[in-house]
């Protein structure tokens, strides 16, 4: 009987993405984007796409596993998993679910992916066209609490109030993503730097969120190829191993509206300890972090809940200098992330963590044998992932 863990049992051997587009600018339909990303990941891995026998995604991805399998002509389909929950809460769990299928013998080669052409479907930031509403949203929408920034701002405000955290901490998180995007030609915001004055002058969306505290809306797709660890060296790239994965949320995190006991939280209170336990390492071992920015305030809370800093040091710790590669104490969102590379619902963060462990990022961190990804913050379930090189196994 092996231990109930994914540690060291599955590896990422290929990554691929489409070009990333501004909202509505993709020349390709969403499903075609999914196919392009998967084929790109297979090329990176040197893998015949027909060998894929599992698909894993999240957030009700519209590119269905069985249609993908038929379109790609895979020899057969074995595993098809979908993580419950919306937004990017499942961006790490999709990888974990695919890895679990491999580790338990239910599949041999799983592609985990996200495809999202927001311009071809409804926008997240607009809610016009709804006449009546019931359930959670009925307690919010009639009061003008409609879109994601409006639904999350009060959680962040409460956290900032409880710990005396200043707006400059959120600003540093936004500026770090934009800083790294300037080195990344894939990034939608490449060539569009952000300085403190521009942040301060930007309009409020919902206080405490300025425009630059909020993620973009984009079109694109991204994918990773997973195989059992013992096969990893059959592929051309440096193997990147799963060290740990966890998902979920704490006691009554889903108590609506805004009635979660741990309200001022990113919802990693129980999930982060699970992750470190599986990986057998701690926050001090993490050299580089990709942390899902739906809003900068969610990153603030996610970093703290993962033990990377204490709440009372947030104002001093969260500065641009500390958050950028290669010189910062904790390089953060080194591809530009959801704010400035592409809002691929966090899947671009998974790919970037792989690049960091491989040593191929456009903003390489000096300590990159252990890379953390956090997905979701403030939604439920959230998920996270630790990836590492062979040296840490």
């Amino acid at each position: 009987m092996t231990s109930r863990s994914l540690r060291g049992r599955v590896a990422v051997v290929g990554i691929g993405e489409t070009d990333y587009y501004r909202h509505g600018q993709s020349p390709d339909p969403e499903f075609k984007l999914a196919l392009k990303a998967i084929l790109a990941a297979c090329r990176d891995a040197g893998l015949d796409p027909r060998e894929i026998d599992g698909f894993a995604s999240y957030s009700d991805d519209r590119s269905e596993a069985t249609r993908l399998a038929a379109a790609l002509g895979t020899h057969r389909l074995r595993s098809a998993t979908m993580q419950w929950g919306g937004g990017g809460g499942g961006c790490c769990a999709a990888v974990a679910n695919g890895a679990a299928a491999i580790a338990t013998g239910q599949a041999d080669c799983v592609v985990a992916f996200r495809s999202l052409a927001q311009g071809q479907y409804g926008r997240f930031g607009q809610t016009t066209g709804i006449d009546t509403i019931s359930g959670e949203k009925a307690y919010l929408m009639p009061y003008g609490v409609l879109s994601p920034p409006q639904r999350f701002a009060m959680r962040v405000r409460r956290f900032m109030h409880e710990h005396g955290i200043r707006q400059e901490a959120l600003r540093a998180i936004a500026m770090a993503s934009y800083h790294h995007a300037q080195a990344n030609p894939r990034a939608v915001m490449h060539g569009k730097p952000l300085d403190a004055a521009r942040y301060d002058a930007s309009r409020w969306i919902a206080e405490p969120f300025h425009l630059y505290d909020c993620c973009m809306e984009n079109d694109g797709a991204a994918a990773v190829i997973l195989v059992a660890a013992e096969r990893a060296k059959d592929f051309p790239n440096k193997p990147v191993y799963l060290l740990g994965a966890a998902s979920g949320s704490g006691f009554r995190a889903g108590a609506h509206p805004h009635n979660a006991p741990a309200y001022a939280s990113a919802n990693f209170g129980t999930v982060a300890p699970d992750l470190y336990r599986m990986a057998g390492i701690g926050p001090a071992d993490v050299g580089v972090v990709q942390s899902y920015e739906n809003f900068t305030g969610g990153v603030l809370m996610a970093l703290i809940e993962h033990g990377l800093l204490q709440p009372d040091e947030a104002n001093e710790f969260l500065t641009l200098d500390n958050l950028i590669a290669p010189s910062g104490r904790l390089p953060l969102n080194t591809s530009g992330g959801n704010l400035a590379e592409c809002y691929m619902h966090g899947f671009e963060l998974v790919l970037e963590a792989v690049r960091q462990v491989r040593g191929t990022s456009t903003s390489q961190a000096p300590r990159s044998d252990v890379a953390l990804v956090t997905g979701g913050p403030m939604v439920s379930p959230v998920s996270n992932l630790l990836l590492g090189s062979e040296t840490v196994l």
């Binding site: 959670e136 009925a138 929408m141 409609l146 405000r157 409460r158 805004h258």
Partner: protein, 150 residues
């Protein structure tokens, strides 16, 4: 008697709150239309619960009872909204949403608007009183619970 208002904080056209088809929250919305704030409280174990559910999360007794509570509380958090996320709000300007906790009802929380100047200072912990905002001419009629400083 709490104050009641037929003037409306936000412009018309936002989604109208209605009970789910299974009727779970009907006592809440019906209460607001009558100027009463009702929150679930389990008759078996006394646990407060909001939003409503068919089951008491503490003792697992079904169909928690509804209890009328005084609509007063404290500001737990707040936001000033600037970007209109709905056609009805275009050109309206900023507005305030507050999260209010009710310490006398198990610290349940509810979201409303803070009446008055949208640029006023908002103080976490400040005491507020509910104001029922009725929309009797709307089809279907509905009522909201707003808040003002006590």
């Amino acid at each position: 008697m709490n104050p009641e208002s037929t003037t409306h904080y936000l412009p018309p056209g936002l989604p109208t709150p209605v009970s789910e088809p299974d009727g779970l929250s009907e006592p809440y919305w019906a209460g607001l239309r009558e100027g009463r704030l009702c929150v679930q409280r389990c008759a078996h174990c006394g646990t407060w619960q909001f939003g409503p559910e068919w089951l008491c999360h503490h003792c697992h007794a079904f169909d928690p009872a509804w209890q009328e509570v005084e609509p007063v509380g404290r500001i737990y958090s707040w936001e000033r909204v600037w970007h209109p996320a709905h056609e009805a709000l275009k050109g309206h300007g900023p507005y305030l949403a507050v999260l209010v906790e009710l310490p006398h009802a198990g610290h349940v929380r509810m979201v409303g608007n803070l009446l008055g100047d949208p640029m006023q200072d908002v103080v976490i912990g400040a005491e507020v009183t509910g104001v029922f905002e009725h929309h009797p001419q709307h089809n279907p009629p509905f009522s909201l619970l707003q808040w003002r400083y006590r």
